[in-house]
Symmetry: C2
Subunit: 717 residues, 2 copies
């Protein structure tokens, strides 16, 4: 049993790769089924049991589940109902890796969301893949009435707010109610189990006849006094091709599940296997050696990851998509680079798939410009300016233009349901400063680091050979962003893409801290760039391109030297940005070290290795900043920047892994407890939330990226 600060929070419960969720858990907030939901459904949701005229239900509903018949007629001389609602205690919630379960007295409710590896459709065929993409969530309501003297009816009912359409024909094993051609609520055909449509739970249980005009999709089963039993449910999802624009793609699952009926039929046949897999997952996590708060964070992150996944079929080619939570951007590269550790342990092909999508459609080539040397000083109070007419007043003019740049990749591929034209993201626009500017240099690093992660983890040398040209282009582009003129190189990203058109480049930490509103001479970027260089060196060695390997290593050395030179020996730390007048310090200075750790390049991380000086000062930096009042909150939670209360959980988890496995600095258990509190209390309305401000979910909600905490499991806890 996990120790939790609160059980009153929402969670995704999602099939794999369907961009679908049955979200529930928050008290008084309802819940429900969505496809492409950017926020939890707020549909009235009744889960419980009825005995006599009393409905006992878990505390999901905000208000009484009343009948709404006023528009049709007034009931005169009819039977007024005397139903009472009793709200069950929702505090006995067990939140496992595969099972989310509530118990209240003799009643239990369990939601099963198995995760298993997805076979590579391009190499392993698709029969097993389609089984595992089954777009359904199965649940169970149980009542132990062995000591009871009164029959009870187990009840699950949902009011989706759209006309609930029909008892689904032709699935003998599982009668179902469907709505919007996209959703079904089905019951396994255990004796007495029913699914139905009505106005109201208690009216249905009195009448046992559906009324198709009612807006309530229901399921129920009588458990006789002296017995015990379950109401076993299938929540099925389906949508039909095509679902996206820009690229016309349909859900891959529609290749195996042509109709809602077929989903229900398949789920009813594999129900037991699903439950067994979830129990196995629960057990594995419990035995992982992680503390209870970490276990919660791992389970919670994984659920929201899968709720944002979508496997699409683009004319027979699989496209793997992870959406960006509430923002729904498609395969945002800032997320992909962090999620690849989780994915490599399960489905390396999805990492390859995303890399290929970026190469095929979302690569572009730019030229660069050189800002004046005092640019940062002159513009440092500027974080954001969206007026292109005033931009030139606020951002200094470049002193040189049209410098050779090179390949990079868009920030994202669009926003659901739209794939952007080739080379364009939905996020980045020209002619502004701050948020929404280009992230050209960082996305270049992201492609390199993700690609190296894929090659090192999969040993897929065929893929590497096919992408040798891209690797080469990446190295040239990376070095040009230091400087196209060899004599001017200092190891740092020093120029801006001309895509910015008067603005300048930003990083993924655009909204962390205004010190980080520029990519140039940025400490976080420098270490990530160093990792990219040693990764490229490794790739060129695999390819036997020894000259290029040397170029990459030389650039890595330049970066390392540059970073070491900026170390503030007095404060024993690195500044966040290496120019201008910034005094904030940040934990993500060490973030880039995760890559050599994953890649098995242990020599690069050794204090007595080729980059020992860099590693040594980064260790000192981390030690110096991980202090209360600097980068620790009072309760032990990590604080990414000394100057703001704004943090991303995904990045904290990743940096905790670096701290422990590069520097032997084991995070204090109080941090895990605090981060669990951020989710269970601070972000209770939204399932997993990445961006928290002093522990309150503020942005990046309903988010997939926090699976960076899978790194905790990779190293044995």
């Amino acid at each position: 049993m996990l120790v939790m600060h609160s059980t009153d929070f929402h969670a995704h419960h999602s099939p794999l790769g369907a961009y679908a969720s049955f979200t529930c858990g928050r008290h008084g907030a309802g819940g429900g089924l969505t496809i492409a939901g950017r926020a939890p459904a707020q549909h009235p949701l009744t889960v419980g049991w009825m005995a006599g005229d009393v409905l006992h239900e878990l505390p999901f509903n905000a208000s009484a589940d009343g009948v709404s018949l006023d528009n049709y007629a007034e009931e005169v001389g009819g039977v007024s109902s005397q139903v009472q609602r009793h709200i069950l205690d929702g505090s006995q919630r067990r939140y496992g890796a595969g099972t989310d379960a509530w118990t209240a007295g003799n009643f239990a409710f369990r939601i099963y969301t198995p995760v298993w590896p997805l076979p590579d459709p391009e190499r392993d065929g698709e029969a097993l893949l389609l089984q595992r993409l089954l777009p359904a969530v199965v649940c169970e309501l149980h009542y132990d009435n062995r000591a009871g003297s009164e029959d009870v009816d187990l009840v699950f009912a949902l009011r989706p707010g759209d006309p609930v359409s029909h008892l689904l024909p032709a699935v003998a094993e599982a009668p179902a109610v469907t709505w919007q051609r996209q959703f079904a609520l089905a019951v396994l055909a255990d004796e007495g189990a029913e699914s139905w449509v009505h106005w109201d739970v208690h009216e249905y249980l009195r009448e046992h006849r559906s009324h198709r005009l009612g807006g309530l999709a229901g399921a129920s089963r009588r458990i006789a006094a002296g017995t015990q039993g379950s109401l076993r449910l299938i929540l099925a999802f389906h949508n039909e091709a095509p679902v996206t624009t820009g690229i016309d793609a349909k859900p891959w699952l529609s290749r195996g599940y042509p109709t809602l009926q077929s989903v229900v039929a398949a789920a009813s046949q594999t129900y037991d296997g699903i439950v067994a897999r979830c129990q196995e997952m629960d057990q594995e996590l419990e035995q992982s050696g992680l503390d209870p708060h970490q276990q919660f964070l791992v389970a919670h992150a994984q659920r929201s990851y899968w709720g944002n996944t979508h496997l699409l079929d683009h004319g027979g080619t699989p496209l793997w998509v992870v959406y960006e939570g509430e923002y729904a951007m498609i395969n945002t590269f800032d997320l992909a680079v962090d999620q690849c550790f989780y994915e490599m342990r399960r489905n390396p092909w999805v990492v390859r798939n995303i890399l290929d999508q970026f190469v095929r459609r979302y690569a572009y080539h730019d030229t660069l410009c050189r800002p004046p040397e005092d640019a940062a000083q002159r513009a440092q109070r500027l974080t954001m300016c969206r007026d292109p007419h005033r931009l030139h007043e606020l951002v200094p003019e470049p002193v040189e233009r049209g410098l050779p740049g090179g390949i990079s990749f868009s920030h994202d591929m669009g926003v659901y349901p739209h794939f952007m034209p080739p080379g364009e993201s939905s996020y980045e626009i020209s002619g502004l400063a701050g948020c929404f500017s280009y992230m050209t240099c960082e996305q270049l690093y992201n492609w390199i680091c993700t690609a190296v992660t894929y090659v090192q983890g999969s040993q897929d040398m065929d893929w590497l050979r096919r992408n040798a040209g891209v690797m080469n282009a990446c190295l040239r582009s990376l070095i040009n962003r230091d400087d196209p003129v060899p004599s001017k190189r200092n190891g740092l990203n020093s120029l801006d893409s001309e895509a910015c058109a008067g603005g300048w480049e930003i990083t993924t930490y655009d909204s962390l801290d205004h010190s980080l509103g520029q990519a140039r001479h940025n400490g976080y970027m420098a270490v990530k760039g160093w990792a990219a260089c040693i990764g490229l060196e490794c790739m060129f060695q695999h390819l036997g391109e020894l000259k290029l390997a040397v170029d990459a290593r030389d650039q890595a050395q330049r970066v390392a030297d540059a970073v070491v030179a900026r170390f503030d020996t007095q404060r024993q730390c690195l500044p966040a940005v290496f120019e201008g007048d910034h005094d904030s310090v940040i934990i993500p200075a060490v973030e880039g070290l995760v890559f050599p750790l994953q890649w098995g390049l242990t020599q690069a991380l050794a204090e007595d290795g080729p980059y020992g000086a860099l590693i040594t000062i980064l260790g000192k930096h981390l030690h110096a900043v991980l202090q209360p009042g600097i980068c620790l909150f009072e309760d032990g939670a990590w604080k990414l920047s000394s100057s703001v209360d704004n943090s991303w959980c995904s990045k904290i988890f990743l940096c905790q892994h670096v701290a422990e496995h590069v520097f032997g600095m084991i995070p204090d258990p109080s941090s895990h407890a605090a981060h669990a509190r951020w989710q269970q209390i601070g972000s209770a309305d939204w399932a997993m939330t990445d961006q928290c401000t002093a522990g309150i979910g503020r942005g990046s909600r309903y988010y997939p990226r926090c699976v960076t905490n899978d790194l905790w499991l990779q190293s044995g806890g």
Copy 2:
């Protein structure tokens, strides 16, 4: 210019047969585009113009159209905007048959919704039909800046609440923004006209660059000082097959418009023709001779009718569907029978199409039961009982069961998006009394009356011959519902369908008055049944089935005699129900006379004709009840029942036509003014509303049926 009580009300603006609407007009309520909308969209909607930093807009928006960027970043050092909103006077609204137009100073906004006949797809091919099904609404914003010294930007912007996806490629004439793969906002490519996606109107006008993450779909065009000009818009709708369940049908329009692009392209090519047709419609209505309030009611009813229409393609077979407003039931027969007068003047084939659907899929055959003679007395306080276990306590047991019944038709065909199984409606259920019980006898009358209307209006004798067997079955079923035993027949519907299973049959006036909660011995039903008999007589004469014609005429005579016998000579009126202790009187006693009037059976309506006694007493009845305090409200509005304030506008319009054209009782103009007030003020939130309680829209909102007022035009006003 129409005289209106208020201009602050919603209206449907819909293409033909697309189940789509651009609904707007209510102040502070927003508006927007829907497909299959059961209520008006409530999206923020900006329509107006911007000059300097002031946005002048029509009063559609509830609140300022603010930027919502908080989730991404705080703007620091940026440019804070000083935009002011000025709400234009919305009172200058001209509500014509084809054009809904606002003017405010130099600004005008016009929405064009042409209505033209739809060619019969089964007889006339579909090229012209597809042109007329064009699923788009076109609009125009105009600004006369000839005397102005400052440029202004015309602006239309809508925040649909879903990710707005893209500038639609490949329609050179009309760049567009699309969302949900279903909607597009396009501008005709007049010089300087733009469509865009952004966070905010004034930011876009400052920047003139789209930001794809913004949730606002916008269009704008600069009108330079010293000039005048228009921003011409296309609001396009599209959805892909299939859209329904039960029957898998796709929109017919998808045969001609495979994509949103194709809709936009077609609308841009026919824009001028659309505007011209609307101007022609405006003029026709203005010259119709109807008074201004009647003109408003005609225009308003027609808009809501089309917003509820849907032409579906079921494997190549066209299915004409009219949904039931906020309830979205499919082809509710109670509506179809009233709408057929409107349809026969334009598209007789849709009437035939619905009749055929009822014969093919929604006919059923029943048996009958005989209630005890004192049933009405024993149960008269009962209007509604939904508990099947208690029904037998409240409804007397039949004294005879299993009597031969016959053919009838379901109340409806389902509720969007679901077509019910054959012979079942979504509305009717067994084992209850009151609302939601079966309407077996009335739907039989409805099929007969609609079929006769079709044959008499179209002279389609082929169709009649193909349906001779159905006509025959209908006559037998009708007579059996009086009594299977000839000697017991009294002309009235005296038995109940056993489909009711313990309850009894109701009528479409289920919720008008509890006196009307039974179909048996009901005065409204009797006159409608009489009309059905003389209609059948006429059909059998066409068919040369003279024996059957005599049977029908004999039954008509029995009905007429029965009704005449119940005339209360003291009060000079008919009771609503011919048994029990009811003292209410109702206008719809005369409703059935509309049929012989439409069928050209003038002899049947003559006081010196074969049914002269019936016509005479119905004239006396109408005269007696159309008195203040009985069936007139104080302001002159009609009141369908003396005992309640609940009325249906569609039925009032129909009965007004009967009053004038059968009895020469011309409705007082104060009634039209009052009924217009019910809509413009009492139902302002909902577009056309049928069911009003003392002038306030209460149910049957967003409703198609009020096109019964087209009868006013048929007779020359």
